[in-house]
């Protein structure tokens, strides 16, 4: 079954103050259109990589917002950069630049 990220999440408590929000702050400074996202999941629905493997940009968005960068590292390696997500985004989020910026942030933070 395809995972659009709508399934019920496991219980987890998140302490926003404890989590690492460096990446999201870096992203917001470089690609402010990130703020426009309303989490509709169109990007995930159309994703070329998501067709093959569990890759979910909508979840990446949530992880970023929560500051959970550990999972991101392996997650972001799957993107093929084709740009379909950007074309279907109803909010005009600059997704390709967002993804390349996330990748760069992960690289810098290590």
């Amino acid at each position: 079954m395809k995972n659009f990220g709508y399934t019920i999440q496991r219980d987890q408590s998140i302490d926003i103050d404890q989590n690492d929000r460096r990446i999201v702050n870096y992203l917001l400074s470089l690609e402010p259109s990130f703020n426009l996202c309303l989490g509709c999941g169109s990007c995930t629905g159309t994703c070329t990589a998501g067709h093959f493997v569990d890759f979910n940009i909508r979840r990446v968005h949530t992880l970023l917002r929560r500051g959970e960068s550990k999972q991101l590292k392996t997650e972001m390696k799957k993107c093929m950069f084709c740009g379909k997500c950007q074309l279907v985004c109803p909010r005009g989020v600059n997704l390709r630049n967002l993804i390349i910026t996330i990748q760069r942030a992960i690289e810098q933070i290590g």
Binding site: M80, C82, G83, L87, N94, R96, E107
Partner: protein, 619 residues
């Protein structure tokens, strides 16, 4: 009289400096060529025909400025007067000086300041039919010719509109100094020769003699002194110009000659910043022709045009923002009078920015044995966003009775160009290898794709041993061989050239030919290699959707000028981008062709026939 004066020194030293500096650069460029390129270059020596055609291009481009003439006659005249005029002035001056000195080899400064050295030789004015008289006439004529260009150059700074340019490039300090000196050289030469001719009452031509006579009368100080000062000024402006040349835009003068020879030897741009790239960068004259045509202007971006990008490369520092801010549409490459591969330079610099995080595409590997087929259809990622194109293409294929394999029907893998165009070659190559393997396993002999982005990268990077066609070419073949019957509706249509299909792979005719079979194709003001980008380009990352929309709307305004009923294109990305803003339907050529195929079971006549027989049965 000894043919030497102290004032020749600034010129003479400047000349030695520029010759050494340019010679050093040429030496380094040739030395840094790859071994294969060196062999290619040496073939020029063995094949004089090739070398001659290179020389011909040097004459037509570096001196006559043919491409500038095509762009705008005033601009062409201005450049030609400086280049060809000065060149002829040097050549004719040299021949003239031999006549006076009586020897074949003169000191390099002797012909340049000839009129100073020979002022004691009395020659009668208007003696046009003698050799010296003829040369005096010729040299004055050439000087006048260059000065007419100079007047145009001055006017261009103020009224660039008349030269077909809305914006001109911003200069750096060294450019300004060199340009000022260049502009001073010829008026100072005119004054120096005129004052000398006026003072001695002879030796001038039709221009310098009357002007000299007139000016000398007006002078309150001895004219000999003024003439001498002018000779010093003339020499100084030449000297400073020569010294500044290697550090200014005028370095393009000697470099372009070498570039033309490189090109005629068959040397190609590399994937990395090679010696050839450096030659290209130094050949940029910063004429600014690429500024106006850049669609970044429409989006309100005025600092990233190719001329500024190349300026940054030359200064060994390009801000990342500028390297990235480019649609990679290739319009500047088409219009560049020097023929610089601007897109490939951009991509080289993007590659240098670091390829970013490593990728993991292991999930793409599958053990499934793919089906085999002669003809393989690869729709591409973008086409999956426009299912109507896939429906049309599969419909056409089925109608033509062709057995084919839709390679990415369910499992669509990106072709790699989006990664490549962002400078991530290593990651792109992983995708390319996976796709190559899959294509290889299908044992196809023909690969048809609906996406120009895929088509370009298949051709340029995949090295596939099979035929590759964009669907416009494939459909044209089907029409020509009569495989699909057509019943065109001949609606008014304009065609938008996708960047990667048009300028990218020079496929201009096939889509037009297909369209002319089924529609009434209207012309567009800017089409073929001058077509605009739709604004959806994958080549750019750092523009907002609003800026993209500005580009799209401008392109639409131009496309829809002739009031077509349908906007046709051959690229799913262009279709998707235009469809958001267009007031009329946007259709791919595959859709238009599919519409025109008569479908027996659903056609109107068949339906009415069916209804009739049904009615008959009832009665």
């Amino acid at each position: 009289m000894i043919n030497f004066n102290l004032f020749v020194l600034p010129f003479f030293l400047g000349l030695i400096y520029v010759l050494v500096a340019v010679g050093k650069s040429w030496y380094h460029w040739i030395k840094a060529l790859t071994p294969i390129d060196k062999v290619k270059l040496s073939t020029l020596i063995r094949h004089p025909k090739q070398a001659l055609s290179a020389l011909k291009e040097v004459f037509l481009e570096s001196l006559v400025h043919r491409k500038m003439w095509k762009r705008n006659p005033l601009l062409g005249y201005m450049h030609m007067s400086f280049a060809l005029g000065w060149f002829l002035l040097i050549v004719c001056g040299n021949i003239e000086s031999r006549f006076y000195s009586g020897v074949h080899v003169n000191a390099p400064y002797y012909p340049i300041f000839l009129k100073f050295f020979i002022h004691d030789r009395l020659v009668i004015f208007f003696e046009v039919f003698s050799v010296p008289g003829f040369f005096r006439f010729l040299m004055d004529f050439l000087l006048l010719y260059i000065l007419s260009g100079l007047v145009l150059a001055l006017l261009k700074r103020q009224y660039s509109n008349f030269f077909g340019m809305k914006r001109t490039s911003r200069f750096q300090f060294t450019d300004r100094v060199a340009m000022t000196c260049l502009w001073l050289i010829f008026p100072l030469r005119l004054l120096a020769e005129s004052f000398t001719a006026g003072h001695y009452g002879s030796g001038g031509g039709f221009l310098t003699q009357p002007l000299g006579d007139f000016l000398v009368q007006l002078l309150p100080v001895p004219s000999e002194f003024v003439a001498y000062a002018m000779w010093w000024g003339y020499s100084l402006s030449l000297g400073i110009f020569f010294v500044m040349l290697p550090y200014s835009r005028y370095m393009h003068i000697p470099t372009e000659v070498l570039l033309i020879f490189f090109r005629h030897a068959g040397i190609q741009p590399k994937k990395w910043y090679s010696s050839f790239s450096d030659t290209e960068v130094q050949s940029c004259s910063r004429c600014g022709v690429c500024i106006d045509i850049c669609q970044m202007n429409t989006a309100g971006i005025h600092n990233a045009q190719t001329v500024y990008f190349i300026q940054g490369v030359r200064d060994r520092y390009v801000p990342e923002e500028i390297t990235q801010k480019c649609l990679v549409c290739g319009r500047c490459q088409e219009i560049c009078p020097v023929g610089i591969n601007t897109d490939s330079l951009r991509l080289i610099k993007r590659r240098e920015l670091g390829s970013g995080q490593s990728t993991d595409f292991s999930y793409l590997k599958s053990d499934d044995k793919p089906k085999t087929a002669q003809i393989v259809y690869f729709s591409g990622c973008m086409t999956h966003l426009t299912p109507s194109i896939i429906r049309a293409m599969t419909g056409i294929l089925e109608n033509a009775g062709i057995s084919y394999l839709h390679l990415d029907k369910d499992r669509s893998i990106c072709c790699g160009r989006p990664l490549m165009i962002a400078g991530k070659d290593r990651q792109a190559n992983e995708l390319i290898e996976i796709n190559k393997q899959i294509i290889h396993e299908t044992r196809a002999t023909l690969l048809v794709t609906s996406c120009p982005i895929c088509y370009r990268v298949f051709r340029e990077e995949y090295n596939l041993p099979i035929r590759i066609q964009h669907h416009s070419q494939f459909i044209l073949d089907l029409i020509k061989t009569g495989k699909i019957p057509l019943q065109g509706q001949f609606k008014k249509v304009v065609y938008h050239d996708p960047c990667d299909l048009g300028r990218g792979t020079k496929t201009y005719e096939a889509p037009r030919e297909v369209l002319s079979k089924v529609t009434d194709l209207l012309p567009v003001k800017q089409e073929a290699n001058n077509a605009l980008c739709c604004g959806g380009s994958l080549g750019i990352l750092n523009v907002t959707q609003q800026q993209r929309a500005m580009i799209t709307k401008e392109a639409l305004d131009i496309l829809l000028e002739n009031k077509p009923e349908i906007l046709a294109t051959a690229c799913p990305l262009c279709k998707k981008t235009f469809a958001t803003h267009a007031s009329i339907p946007v259709m791919d050529i595959a859709e238009l062709v599919y519409q025109s195929i008569p479908k027996p079971s659903y056609s109107a006549s068949a339906q009415s026939h069916q209804a009739k027989s049904y009615a008959n049965e009832l009665i």
